[in-house]
Subunit: 331 residues, 2 copies
């Protein structure tokens, strides 16, 4: 393991310290937690708080999406480990401005359990809390840490849409309804070229041969659905688009937003080449995405690979929410 | 070599196609070139054009910094290869709105020669052209492709400051003077944990042992100044800060902007840990950077490593220019 770290046990606290000290105008640490709140939180008076989080190792997710127009706060667990209920509770308290708090939870058993416990704690304090469980990864049903489907890069689009809605003053029940409306329209699938190496263990999460790839790997190195020899970018796009098509049923009369997400160690060069093949592939279906973003948003430490997220835009406002400007580190 | 590509010979054209098709609202291809111009170029009437470019493999540089408030246009050579004079000339023509064009050139012999030739061609057409040669890398004097010092990540800060000035309507002579003023105050040094693998050759640019790092490596795998065993992030920071200090002579009475730049395959987690150590190190010198940015801005394909750029802010306006909002892919 060759990494720019100090003591592996301090990775998360030092990382978070670096983020908040480098960007004090955007992020403020919540004392005695591994959590952050928007530095302009005072401007959110009478608005719903939007909170997310999860294990670390997915940077810039989720703290990198805290800021004006996106998340109100985020809480970071240890690497690939759910944050504890008491820490989640502290963020909910910090994010509440009297209009309630909405939680965006990725579908991992630990996250779901701990966020639900924190929600109960906050409700006992009289804070209104509602939540959505994001399960956008279509690769597999059930997984190492998940019942049902996993939550991956599509979560970032949930942050963006709900964040714009919260910023606009939308009420908690309306945000909850919006979340339920967009969720079934966001689907993701990934391909990995190499595994992530967790600095705490020093070992890669799985092994791939020099010429091997795996489709459908999760962001905590959960197994995917097929291994095979590395293929051209065009062939990878064909595989991932066909997998998404089975769920989303591409239709040239409909509008789509697309997120091409690097998993940590894949250079932008490859992400843009993949994007080019993707756009060409969709063009053959008479589809031209109306919104697109390419880069590292939901990573898995130093995994090489790409995920593809497609979001069917059933309402004009969803696209407007995607396009609203934000002030965050990572968007 | 395990990469998401098609034919290695097509890497640059496909990458550029992906960038421009994914972000048509920001980038427009210049026909028959590997170059791009701002999609809102029409709004730059009566303003100076700002043009940069160089070999590919440094994404998001330079095309990712084209857009409102930064570059007017950028031209992409083949990987680690200077763009040709005729292509640079085409961008200059496209960027000119009657007030002239300013070129930001990184100090590599091929770039310097070809940009100067393009400048001559444009001047014969009556276009006023001026330029600056960026040589911010303090690691070594003279190198594989450079007389003097190399131009690296500090170039992005030059783009930002001059881009804000150009957007504000600053004249060509004033932009030229500003460039000459900021240049001696921008210094960079890097550490590499692994080499970049050029997809055209399929081989890494150099070899490092599993526990070895190299200080001062260039962004085209040019040799640095020392190899040694991997150290803690704190120790890497100490080395790079001390190297910068020899040039910039840190002074707690002065103001500094800092860019922590990932070289392509280094996850944000490590960049934030490095940033935390950097901020702590500078705090011991009673220095708190007034501006900071962390991420992948001037990469070397899939090289693992980090560069540190320090910019001594001798004028309040330089900081204002850094803070001006932009509309680009990469900033």
């Amino acid at each position: 393991m060759k990494k720019i770290i100090n003591n592996p046990a301090d990775v998360v606290s030092e990382m978070l310290s670096g983020m908040t000290k480098a960007y004090p105008q955007i992020l403020t640490p919540i004392p005695k937690t591994a959590a952050v709140i928007r530095s302009d939180q005072a401007s959110m008076v009478n608005k719903v708080g939007l909170v997310s989080g999860g294990g670390s190792g997915h940077e810039p997710a989720h703290a990198g999406f805290v800021g004006k127009g996106m998340l109100t706060g985020a809480v970071c667990g240890q690497i690939f480990t759910s944050p504890t209920p008491d820490q989640i509770y502290e963020v909910i308290k910090a994010a509440d401005q009297g209009r309630g708090v909405f939680l965006v939870i990725k579908n991992y058993s630990g996250d779901v359990m701990n966020f639900e416990m924190a929600k109960d704690m906050a409700e006992m304090d009289g804070i209104k809390v509602d939540s959505v469980i994001v399960d956008d990864d279509i690769a597999v049903e059930n997984s190492m840490y998940t019942q049902g489907r996993r939550g991956v890069a599509g979560t970032i689009l949930v942050h963006k849409v709900l964040g714009a809605a919260a910023q606009a003053g939308t009420s908690l029940p309306e945000i909850s309804q919006l979340a339920q409306e967009i969720l079934p329209n966001i689907k993701t699938v990934a391909v990995a070229l190499s595994a992530a190496t967790n600095p705490e263990t020093g070992k890669p999460g799985f092994e791939l041969k020099n010429d091997e790839i795996e489709y459908g790997v999760g962001i905590h190195s959960e197994p995917g659905y097929r291994r095979e020899k590395i293929k051209s970018s065009q062939a990878l796009v064909t595989e991932l688009v066909s997998k998404i098509d089975q769920e989303i049923h591409f239709d040239s009369q409909k509008q789509y937003a697309v997120l091409v997400n690097g998993l940590g160690a894949t250079p932008l060069m490859e992400q843009y080449i993949f994007s080019n093949d993707l756009i060409n592939n969709l063009a053959q279906k008479q589809i031209r995405p109306v919104w697109m973003k390419v880069g590292n948003y939901m990573t898995s430490i130093d995994m090489a690979g790409i995920s593809l997220t497609v979001f069917e835009l059933q309402a004009k406002q969803w696209l407007e929410y995607l396009n609203e400007p934000v002030e965050t580190i990572g968007w």
